[in-house]
Amino acid sequence: MPQHTFKLNGEQVTVDVEDDVRLLWVLRDVLDVTGPKYGCGINVCKACTSHINGKAFNPCSVRVTDIEPTDEITTIEGLPGTVGQPLHPMQQAWLDRDVAQCGYCQPGQIMAAVDKVRKARAEGREISDADLDEIRNVCRCGTYTRIREAIRAGAEHM
């Protein structure tokens, strides 16, 4: 069985699994990293949103063989580590606003939010309503209002 190696939440990991297995299943079913959630498997619900080399992506739609040994994958579990704190400011904003309801989509929401803020910053501006409108993550509990508030609040501390 082919071997694959990449950096996951700060540590180099190696797995034996077929080339075409999507990274989401490698994370969840092989490595027991269950923060990224399955909601569609076709890159439309965004529940599995994680980061690759600091940019948001959806591991449900990437084959493990397409991940390079030097690629750094960050899931919600590794997000606090990127700032060297017990919680990332966006997670703290989520707590402050009591955003979560069932919580199923929230790891993906937070990872998408961090990415949104980073992208806006890279373009030299702050988050706008138009940016927030582009967030594709489904929340079936309907926490959208608090998500919008939390992203603006979290951005202030990023």
């Binding site: 077929e18 739609s61 707590l95 955003v99 937070i110 309907g142």
Partner: protein
């Protein structure tokens, strides 16, 4: 672990609910008596006949569920542990509605223990609880409010008594202070130190007084969810995350049409030899495959060559169901009203809506050696346990059902079909399985709030609405699980399962939940259904019939107001049939600046609704200008946008106002979806929708920019329901706003259902879509 067990309260089966209990019980039998009181002094003497108050005003579904639960409510126990914490194993499902937090708050209040010292877990199925382990109808707070507090208060009493003995002090001189008992001289014993000494030696009956509301320090204060940290760190575990040794991923290859069945499988051996695959087994609903990863399950499902028998609606489409509904519609009565009276008559169609949560159906099952162990998010775990026992032919005691937190429930998780599939697969394979539905399975073979029509005929003369008739005709809603049990228990007159769904369950549920919250002369509401209850898989969906029933009514109310020359808000004010409804109406009108000037093709809409022992009003502003309606977001359904919403809610007593606010926001998003974007299309025996890119639930690009939720001060002092309460009012307000902005009353919902399809339907065979591989470039 040793525990101090609270004694059972002498009166906990006849709890001191105060005024609300009096209303609920006294009126249980002769409902019309209490209802008559509501009509007193309301100034509608000119109505055609006296307005017989509707059943639900006097005795609603919450009473029924609570009364069914009463004989066993004493079995709820709060334990105080030697480490100073308290635990409560809650016989309800936490599905995001916040009942774990709420239970902890009630315990915190009565036990004088900080919230973070209270551990609320979800109880395994406990068949001895009978009907007291059922999460539905926004009923949890309502039915658990008193029992939990009684248990916690008794625990505190026992701790005080034990401290009195140890400190050689009179109990009334002792004071509980945040997890310890303090004597006047300053000596203290912690709850942890007292836990053993306070333990009972036999079951005793104990009287207890509950903290009066004037002394509340926790109840009624906004608190964050107790599981929030787990949720934002990814540590919160759902059924699919639970580590059960060898419970490998399992998926089911499902038929191309609704409820088709397996005829034969041509290539079992070939598929069993695919990478990662360990087992292939035919079960009642399809062909189950077990593999190392879910990705390999998807590959295997796609490779299976299955011949299918036909389903239950093969060849049928929306138009056929609609035609069957129309054939079944009960004629509206011709009211006996003065000849000068004028009539408003409208008919509305509501299309099928999917009740799936974001967490796909998932169940872990280990069936070996004549025993079964299950892990799943379940609204009705006892029924599930009984069904599993029945399926396996083993005693109920051989089946252990662990309840996991749900990633949303919305009614879907009242049904145990994923558990039964997992049990069947595990039994046949002889191995534990972690069975999960693919997302495609959910809209294609999952449950839905069924298609229905609602017709209203109202008559008015001068300033009086003389009659208001509503005839609701629906594809059968399956209430045979969960609700069925409770109602069966209460009524005891249900025909055999399969024939009695409509008369035994649907119609009673309809009459226990619907009402017309206005002083309108003669009011009648009737429901009739078509099809067997399980022909099209159905169920409730974050509320039962009221999103549709009330939307139809509120649109007609706006029409009546227009014809009678009245403003929509003032009309509702004039006719609202109680003070709480009036108060929330006034509140949203004021906070939402009702009547403010609006640009062309933008408008406000307002609605008021009574259910779950509460009152709610919603005011929205909608933007139907072409530049908004036609705004482009990649692969998105845009359309009219609700830009602002103001909701005022009175649940009698908001135990956790922050949680209530969240529920109202969520209900609003559901209401927006059901009015504007969310539905499934039946074509040739199957639904076209197959994933979140087809089923247009509210997304950020549909969400209002400005949402204000106003939690009213306590009114009744008794908490009503919240989880489903926001939906009908929101959906109705959006529909009314849309009608006012466009000048056209919408008559089918969602309003975009009959537009050209916005997506290319995914294939039916193979049943699952393969995951893309372009995720590094496409986000």
């Amino acid at each position: 672990m040793e525990k101090s067990r609270a004694g059972h309260a002498a009166d906990s089966s006849r709890p001191d609910f105060g005024r609300r209990r009096f209303l609920g019980y006294v009126l249980a039998g002769p409902t019309l008596v209490a209802a008559a009181k509501l009509g007193v002094g309301t100034g509608t003497a000119e109505a055609a006949v006296p307005s017989a108050p509707e059943v639900s005003e006097a005795y609603d579904l919450n009473d029924l569920l609570r009364d069914a639960a009463l004989p066993t409510s004493g079995l709820i126990t709060v334990a105080v542990n030697p480490d100073g914490t308290a635990s409560f194993d809650m016989p309800r499902l936490e599905c995001g509605q916040g009942v774990s937090t709420l239970a902890a708050m009630l315990i915190s209040e009565e036990l004088s223990l900080p919230l973070d010292k209270i551990n609320v877990t979800l109880a395994d199925a406990r068949p001895e609880l009978l009907f007291n382990q059922f999460t539905a109808g926004s009923n949890t707070t309502f039915s658990m409010y008193t029992p939990i507090r009684v248990a916690a208060a008794i625990a505190k009493g026992q701790l005080l008594k034990a401290a009195g003995q140890l400190l050689n002090e009179q109990v009334h001189r002792l004071e509980p202070v945040l997890g310890a008992v303090r004597a006047p001289d300053g000596r203290e014993l912690s709850y942890g130190e007292l836990a053993k000494a306070a333990a009972g030696h036999e079951v005793r009956q104990v009287d207890v007084e509950l903290t009066p509301s004037s002394n509340f320090t926790v109840i009624g204060t906004p608190r964050n969810r107790t599981d929030a940290l787990e949720a934002v760190t990814g540590r919160k575990q759902f059924a699919m995350d639970i580590k059960v040794p060898d419970a490998m991923p399992t998926m089911v290859c499902r038929p191309p049409t609704i409820k088709g069945t397996v005829e034969s499988v041509a290539n079992v051996a070939e598929v069993r030899g695919m990478p990662g695959v360990t087992d292939v087994a035919t079960i009642a609903t399809g062909v189950a495959v077990r593999a190392r990863t879910f990705g390999q399950c998807i590959d295997a499902v796609r490779a299976l060559k299955v011949s299918w028998n036909q389903g239950t609606v093969d060849g049928m489409s929306d138009k056929d169901v609609l035609a069957d509904l129309e054939k079944a519609e009960v004629p509206l009565a011709v009211p006996e009203v003065p000849v000068l009276a004028r009539t408003v008559e409208k008919k509305f169609t509501f299309y099928t809506r999917d009740n799936a949560a974001l967490e796909p159906q998932c169940a872990v099952a280990d069936v070996r050696d004549g025993k079964a162990e299950i892990w799943a998010p379940l609204q009705a775990p006892i029924l599930t346990q009984q069904k599993v026992a029945g399926l396996l032919g083993v005693p109920v005691s051989a089946v252990t059902v662990h309840v996991t937190p749900a990633g949303g429930a919305f009614g879907r998780k009242m049904f145990s079909d994923p558990v039964l599939e997992a049990v069947e697969a595990s039994q046949q394979m002889g191995k534990p399985v972690r069975l999960m539905w693919h997302r495609v399975d959910e809209p294609r073979q999952g449950r839905a709030h069924p298609m229905c029509t609602s017709r209203i005929r109202a008559t008015y003369l001068g300033n009086e609405v003389l009659t208001f008739e509503q005839r609701h005709t629906s594809v059968a809603t399956d209430y045979t699980q969960g609700f069925g049990e409770v109602i069966t228990n209460m009524a005891g007159e249900i025909p055999p399962l399969g024939q009695g769904n409509e008369l035994g369950y649907s119609v009673p549920v309809f009459h226990l939940t619907v009402n017309v919250p206005y002083k309108f002369g003669a009011v009648t509401q009737l429901l009739n259904e078509i099809y067997e209850y399980d022909r099209i898989p159905s169920g409730s969906m974050r509320n039962l019939v009221n999103p549709d029933v009330r939307t139809a009514q509120e649109l007609v109310v706006d029409q009546l107001a227009a014809e009678m020359g009245k403003d929509p808000y003032r009309f509702r004010r004039e006719f609202a049939d109680d003070q709480r409804a009036l108060a929330v109406l006034d509140k949203v009108a004021e906070a939402g600046q009702w009547g403010r000037p609006m640009a062309p093709r933008t408008a406000q809409g307002i609605s008021v609704h009574k259910e779950y022992k509460g009152a709610i009003a919603t005011l929205v502003e909608i933007d139907c200008r072409p530049e908004t309606v036609n705004r482009k977001v990649r692969d998105a359904v845009t359309g009219p946008r609700v830009t602002k919403a103001v909701v005022a809610v009175d649940t009698g007593l908001a135990v956790n106002p922050r949680g209530l606010e969240a529920q109202m926001q969520g209900g609003l998003m559901d209401g927006i979806a059901q009015a504007l974007t969310s539905s499934k299309h039946l074509r040739n025996g199957a639904f076209l929708e197959a994933s979140w890119d087809n089923y247009a639930y509210t997304r950020q690009w549909n969400a209002p920019f400005d949402v204000q939720i106003i939690v009213m001060p306590p009114t009744t002092g008794q908490p009503g329901g919240a989880g489903e309460f926001g939906v009908p009012s929101a959906m109705a307000a959006v529909a009314c706003a849309y009608a006012r902005a466009t000048g056209t009353m919408p008559t089918s919902f969602p309003i975009n259902h009959n537009d050209p399809l916005f997506f290319e339907p995914k294939p039916y065979e193979p049943p699952l879509v393969q995951s893309p591989t372009d995720g590094l470039t496409k986000y």
